[in-house]
Subunit: 370 residues, 2 copies
């Protein structure tokens, strides 16, 4: 019987590690005392197996459990349930990684565009892709569309909604969608960009499934080529269904980490692997040196997970963000490499009147590294 290899990091005493492993293999499979399980097939094929227990430093243990693939379907809801459902309630257990047999991975399509598709979409043959965000929350549609026009005129490749923009009264989704998409078109025309080579506007889709699918339909109608979604806010099963059934094959996906609760599911697994399996073409994460405390090592792990070979899935593009500054472009490109999207928001917006010039500086600085 095929098994998923799930790796947990457990903070516990050395003498308790084996017992913790035994508890996890039961909790994440039959979830009842084995003394009450009399069916031999269930004991052999369904109950989780402890594959290894090893010290991981800092009083923690790396525990690998083999989970029966047959229990972990269908879909991402049940996969997460078996990987981490009840065990997430133990504050001292982190879900560190998971390796899936091909038959489980086959249930997930991965990015439809990936790195090469994003290069086609943006016309960036080599080097990093640039991205910025429409802020602040509370701005009117007119203000946001004006920013969008400036950023597109500056030549920034992807202009995304701030993930806080939803369908608020001061900026209704449909009006913002139409105004920003029109602004980008005008700016692209103004720069003489050829069809399919100008800047792209990425609206943020959020709400209940019905609302999100309607937003996806409207976005397709308006010719949107890339959308922003926060899978942990929508729910992973909504993300799964959105990509598979509602976005259409042409539209790329930029995944936002909001509600990712970094500390309990390891970010390289959640953002680099799981979001990608569900179809994220690019994954935003909080880069070192910004407003968040991720280390360089963690950031490298996320970026590598997004691009590493994974069954026959396309690589996704890593997007370090969260307080990145224009002055760091060279350092970021050196660190993350060319198959990267650089997202700078606030550090362009503080330029005020000089926004267009600062946006151009960003675009040109990155282009020089192509």
């Amino acid at each position: 019987m095929s098994r998923i290899r799930a790796t947990y990091l457990v903070a516990c005493d050395a003498h308790a590690a084996q017992d913790r492993a035994d508890a996890i293999r039961v909790e994440q499979s039959v979830e009842m005392p084995l003394a009450g399980v009399h069916d031999r097939r269930i004991l052999e094929d369904i109950v989780g197996q402890v594959e290894s227990v090893e010290p991981a430093g800092d009083g923690r243990f790396r525990i690998v459990i083999g989970l029966a693939s047959a229990t972990a379907r269908p879909g991402i809801a049940q996969l997460m349930n078996m990987l981490y459902g009840n065990t997430s309630l133990h504050a001292d257990v982190e879900l560190l990684d998971a390796d899936f047999p091909d038959e489980v991975a086959a249930g997930f399509a991965g990015p439809r565009h990936g790195v090469s598709g994003l290069r086609r979409l943006t016309g960036v043959g080599a080097g990093p892709i640039t991205c910025t965000a429409l802020k602040p929350q509370g701005s009117s549609v007119e203000v946001l569309a004006g920013l969008c026009h400036d950023f597109a005129s500056a030549g920034i490749h992807i202009i995304k909604d701030d993930h806080g923009l939803s369908d608020q009264a001061y900026s209704p989704f449909i009006q913002r969608l139409r105004a920003c998409q029109a602004a980008v078109r005008r700016a692209n025309a103004g720069r003489g960009a050829r069809e399919g080579e100008g800047s792209l506007y990425a609206p943020s889709l959020a709400g209940t499934p019905r609302q999100v699918y309607e937003q996806a339909r409207l976005s397709r109608e308006e010719g949107v080529k890339i959308v922003l979604v926060a899978p942990m806010l929508l729910g992973l099963p909504v993300f799964e269904e959105l990509v598979a059934e509602h976005l259409g094959p042409e539209c790329a996906v930029l995944a936002h980490p909001a509600m990712g609760g970094g500390a309990r599911i390891a970010p390289p697994l959640l953002f680099g692997k799981l979001f990608r399996m569900l179809g994220a073409d690019a994954v935003i994460f909080t880069g070192y040196g910004g407003r968040f405390a991720y280390t360089r090592e963690r950031c490298r792990d996320i970026a590598e997970a997004a691009r590493a070979p994974l069954h026959d899935m396309k690589p996704a593009m890593p997007v370090p963000a969260g307080g990145m500054k224009l002055e760091r472009v060279d350092e970021l490109v050196d660190f993350y490499g060319p198959d990267t999207m650089l997202l700078i928001g606030g550090d362009l917006l503080i330029a005020g009147e000089q926004l267009l010039a600062r946006g151009r500086e960003f675009a040109e600085k990155v282009a020089s590294r192509g």
Copy 2:
């Protein structure tokens, strides 16, 4: 302008606490340097406000931020985004509580049945309601339906699917639904229970939104009166839409904590308040003294949150679970009080041949406390 009061628990040095509060109020509102925000209305009405910063012991600070209600809509996805979206990525920040102004709470219906509705459904006028679970994972439909018949014959009020049961090949949802519902009906008739007074089967709904809504439709067709859902596995927005649009007014909801990742959103808030706001009539949580490390104090807080006055919403019934034992019934009733559902699964299932007798013991022991 109306504001939500969000309370965070932050582990930091005393001299850094005010700066952390300032960072959170910006991160959870405009998410950009305030130097770049020139619109006075946004600065006054939209940017978060620090309401208080107080030591909370153990090197932690209790920080209360006023978040503009206008930013946190529509729906639960955007509410969670503004409460904890990016800040969840800081491993040292817990979302401890949130108080909502009436205009925000009005967007959420709360339990449709609540404590009194569950009493009507089960015919238990006073005292706790009993609940058990169909296990183990990997069992065939026939085995599960057989267990269901035994538990119903024993007089246990609610018999729920193990939350690990989904739509696996060895136990397809629709077959399990029909077989278990039929088994409960047969057992109720065998006990001479009047219509609407016998045991209830609660199928577990899981998958993508489309799959879950179809499962809800099938459940209604089969006359199901209560379902089990794990809101954090489905995604809170799916839970929101499921209750509002797909379950029908007659069907009660038992919420499961899987993937609740207890340590980062305080369980009394997540299970006791937010699940309830979205329509959970009863909320399962891991009780002290079982397989999980919740303290008595935490359990009391969850139970109180579920039943405390909350705008004009019905109270929900707390359901301590996760390794509860028959021998503890009296202690649990003393601790949680009569408006409680007691969920015992594995400790009945280990009885094997004696299952029916042990189930009866559970039912009678609890009834004697009515």
